[in-house]
C-alpha cells in the first residue's frame, strides 16, 4: 500500500519516457566510417530518416551532394552505402521516388512548421543543422528544446 504512489509515479515517468522515445528518437549512426565521413559538414543523420533507395541514390551522386562535391574513395563509399541501406527507414514515399532532402519529407515539414521562429532558423542557418536546436541530436534524441 505504501508503494502505490511511488509505483504510480514510476509508471507515469516510464510511459512518458516511452512516448518520448517513440515520437522523438531515431537510432543514431553506429558505423564508424559513416559517423566519421558523414559528420564532416553536418551531423551524421540517422539511416532511419530515409528509405533504402534514397541512400542508394545519395551515395552514388556524391560529386554533386546538395551543391557540393563530397566524393569518397570507392571502398569507403561502398562501405557507407551498405550500412545506410541496411539500416534505412521504411519506404513511405510514392512508388519509385527516392527523396534526398530529409527536410522536405512531409513529417519533417509538419514537425517544424510553426515550431521554428525566424530567429531560430537564422541562427541555425540551415535545416541541415539539427544540433542548433536539438542539443541531443547526435544521440538520436530529437525532442523539442
Amino acid at each position: 500500500m505504501n508503494f502505490t504512489p511511488l509505483l504510480a509515479i514510476a509508471a507515469f515517468a516510464l510511459s512518458g519516457a516511452a512516448l518520448a522515445d517513440e515520437m522523438e528518437y531515431m537510432p543514431p549512426v553506429t558505423h564508424a566510417a559513416t559517423q566519421e565521413e558523414c559528420s564532416a559538414c553536418h551531423m551524421a543523420y540517422p539511416a532511419g530518416f530515409l528509405p533504402p533507395q534514397s541512400w542508394a541514390v545519395m551515395m552514388t551522386t556524391l560529386e554533386d551532394h546538395f551543391g557540393e562535391n563530397a566524393t569518397l574513395d570507392e571502398a569507403t563509399r561502398a562501405d557507407i552505402e551498405a550500412y545506410l541501406v541496411a539500416n534505412a527507414g521504411r519506404d513511405r514515399s510514392k512508388a519509385g521516388a527516392a527523396p534526398l532532402r530529409i527536410s522536405e519529407l512531409p513529417w519533417f515539414r509538419k514537425e517544424h512548421e510553426e515550431e521554428v521562429s525566424k530567429r531560430q532558423f537564422e541562427e541555425a542557418k540551415s535545416w541541415a543543422n539539427c544540433n542548433a536546436c536539438h542539443k541531443q541530436a547526435e544521440r538520436g534524441i530529437f525532442e523539442d528544446d
Binding site: H42, A124, K125, A128
Partner: protein, 130 residues
Amino acid sequence: MKYLLVLPFALLASPAVAQSTSPADLLAQYSAEAGAEASAERGKELFMANHTGGKPDTPSCTTCHTADPKAAGQARTGKPIEPLAPSANPERFTDLKFVEKWFGRNCNSVLGRDCTAAEKADVLAWLASL
C-alpha cells in the same frame, strides 16, 4: 615514452587520425610535383577570387572558409569549420589523406576541376605564411 603519452591525444584529435605529414613537407612535395617554387601571393589570389567554373553555391574558397583563414569558417549547413591557417590550427596539413580528400572535393566544388600541384603549393604557401 613520449610517444605513448602523445598517442591517445593524436587519436582523439579529429579529423586527423594519423600525423603523416607537415605543412613544410607537404609544401615541398607539391612544389616538387609542380616543378616550380610556390607563390604565397598567387595562393592568396586563388583563395580570395570568385570563380565561375564550379558549382553555383560555392564560387570561392571564402564561401565557407571566409576571407580570414585564421578564423573559423562555416559550412553551408551551419556547421563551423576549424581555421585553415596552421598558425591558428596546428592540425591543418598534417594528414596527407585528409588534405588530398578536401583539395579534391573543394577544388571541384569551387573550380569545377582538380587543383594542380602548383595551385595547392601556392595556397599552402600562403596559408602557412599567415
